[in-house]
């Protein structure tokens, strides 16, 4: 018998909903049987806590007296430039932005110790940051410079808006060259000296709903320790990749765009992150509840680490040069054991996404639902799936002829 979201919410209200994490449901269903489990369980919670570069936040800081039009000039938060091509006092801070005088990779490998993501972490920690701006001045916005401290509580709105998060599966990165390379997948030792992976595997949101049958626009989620919403598919959302028999993508596939009120978030679940030689990024905590509407949906949540396969990709040549090809396939059980074998070579593995924290997020979300503090939403529209005809395109360059 199928359940509806309303019925599940009714049970949550009465404190009677049965909620398990994506890890707990595996053993539970093995004991009870899939059919019984699908009737007994109402919600399965997922979680992930990893670096997600396409993140950022927009702010409205209120009008100064006299007024200033930030657009067209330059604005900074703690020396990190923000995007002001909007109305007078709205702006967007990107997670990967960094101060203009950061040496980048001039001293190789660069440290990238402070950037947009760190500003976001400091703001939600309640700290004051420096808002500095220069503007060109107009009749209605005459002011030309601004220098002030500001904190999150002073702002009208502070909204986290991430255009690509929670990748459904990811590559395993290795380095075939004979020098150390510094990548967004971490420091990679020469001649396949190590392998880095980045997914919460069996706890990861989109790996528990591989065809996006429950997650869509308007899905309420755990975001950065507060509450957020899925606002659509993320950029590069690519449902049409090779999948296992059970539908689990074997390479990076679906993605999410999410938003939420920064004022509700905590620095524990949104962390400024520095990849040596690469840059700054934001590590985001996301947890998504999956309503167990029927047996099929429950079955998807039973996915185990050993059933999730990822491609081993060379980041010294293949990735930067866009040469397709995989050095082999490994699963997350192998990756989490600490070593994998690729082309006959045993390689130590390390994660970039924290499984411990992913479990903590799934558990917090479970507790919120059990306590009647978090209700599920019916998505307005589901995410584009394998029948969408989406094709992930590379950039086709068309040279601009000089006149």
């Amino acid at each position: 018998m199928a359940k509806s979201i309303e019925e599940i919410n009714e049970k949550i209200k009465k404190g009677k909903a049965v909620v398990l994490t994506a890890e707990e449901i595996i053993d539970f269903a093995a004991e009870r049987g899939v059919k019984k489990a699908s009737q007994e369980v109402d919600v399965v919670t997922t979680g992930t806590f990893g670096p997600m570069c396409s993140s950022g936040a927009y702010f409205n800081v209120g009008h100064s007296k006299p007024r200033i039009k930030l657009g067209g000039g330059k604005t900074y938060l703690n020396d990190v430039p923000v995007y002001t091509g909007l109305a007078a006092v709205d702006f967007f801070l990107g997670a990967t932005a960094m101060p203009e005088d950061d040496p980048r990779n001039k001293i190789y490998p660069g440290k990238f110790s402070y950037g947009g993501a760190h500003v976001i972490e400091e703001l939600i920690a309640g700290k004051d940051v420096r808002l500095t701006a220069t503007a060109y001045g107009t009749d209605c916005y005459p002011r030309k410079t601004l220098e002030t401290f500001i904190s999150l509580k002073d702002m009208n709105e502070a909204i986290l808006f991430n255009m690509r998060n929670a990748y459904q599966n990811y590559n395993v990165a290795v380095n075939l060259s004979d020098r150390v390379i510094y990548t967004y997948m971490g420091v990679l030792q020469p001649k396949m000296g190590n392998a880095n992976y980045c997914s919460a595997g069996q706890l990861s949101p989109l790996l528990n709903d591989p065809y996006y049958k429950t997650i869509g626009i308007g899905t309420r989620i755990f975001l950065g320790g507060g509450i957020g919403y899925v606002v659509g598919n993320g950029t590069q959302h690519n449902p049409n990749v090779a999948r296992t028999e059970k539908g689990v993508p074997k390479m990076p596939a679906g993605t999410l765009a999410v938003k939420g009120d920064l004022k509700l978030m905590t620095p524990k679940w949104l962390r400024g992150t520095s990849f040596t030689g690469y840059g700054v990024t934001l590590t985001v905590g996301i947890g998504i509840p999956i309503p167990i509407l029927d047996e099929e949906i429950l079955r998807y949540t039973l996915v185990k680490d050993e059933e999730i396969w990822a491609q081993v990709v060379d980041y010294s040549e293949s990735y930067p040069q866009c040469v397709p090809g995989s050095l082999g396939e490994v699963n997350y059980k192998q990756l989490k054991s600490g070593k994998i074998t690729v082309q006959g070579k045993e390689i130590p593995t390390s994660g970039l996404s924290s499984y411990l924290k992913a479990r903590e997020i799934a558990t917090i979300l479970k507790e919120w639902i059990e306590a009647g503090k978090f209700f599920l939403t019916q998505p307005v529209e589901l995410l584009p799936s394998v029948d969408s005809g989406i094709v992930f395109k590379p950039l086709k360059e068309r040279p601009i002829k000089k006149r």
Binding site: G50, V187, S274, K336, G338, S350, G351, L352, K357
Partner: protein, 135 residues
Amino acid sequence: MQKKRVVFNYPPHVVEQPVISKLVKEFDLTVNILRARISPKEEGRLVLEITGKRQALEAGIHYIRELGVEIQSLAQDVKWHEDRCTHCTACISACPPRALDVNRQTMEVSFNRDKCIACEACIPVCPYQAMEILF
């Protein structure tokens, strides 16, 4: 037999003296140099692993102190900021002596000071600035 991991801070006048060979010859100690750095002002800093009989070890260290060398145990110099650590495990394959290690059941990361050799390999690898070495 006892083993001790220590950091020696040499003032300039000691840098010239054959301190290590004396430890080996007169105190019958095995000295393994883990790291060495001499600053432009000619101050030296050595990270050593010293092995020997307990009494000899104590006597050797006493002798070095008398020369004006400041001695610290290594652990004080390497800090794992547990509150900053996300347990991502990025450092695990980078740490040669497995001072940073993970419980594969829970995926929880821990730091064992006694195993650390202050090699700094974890510093560029940790994306959360959770490892700090004051050296």
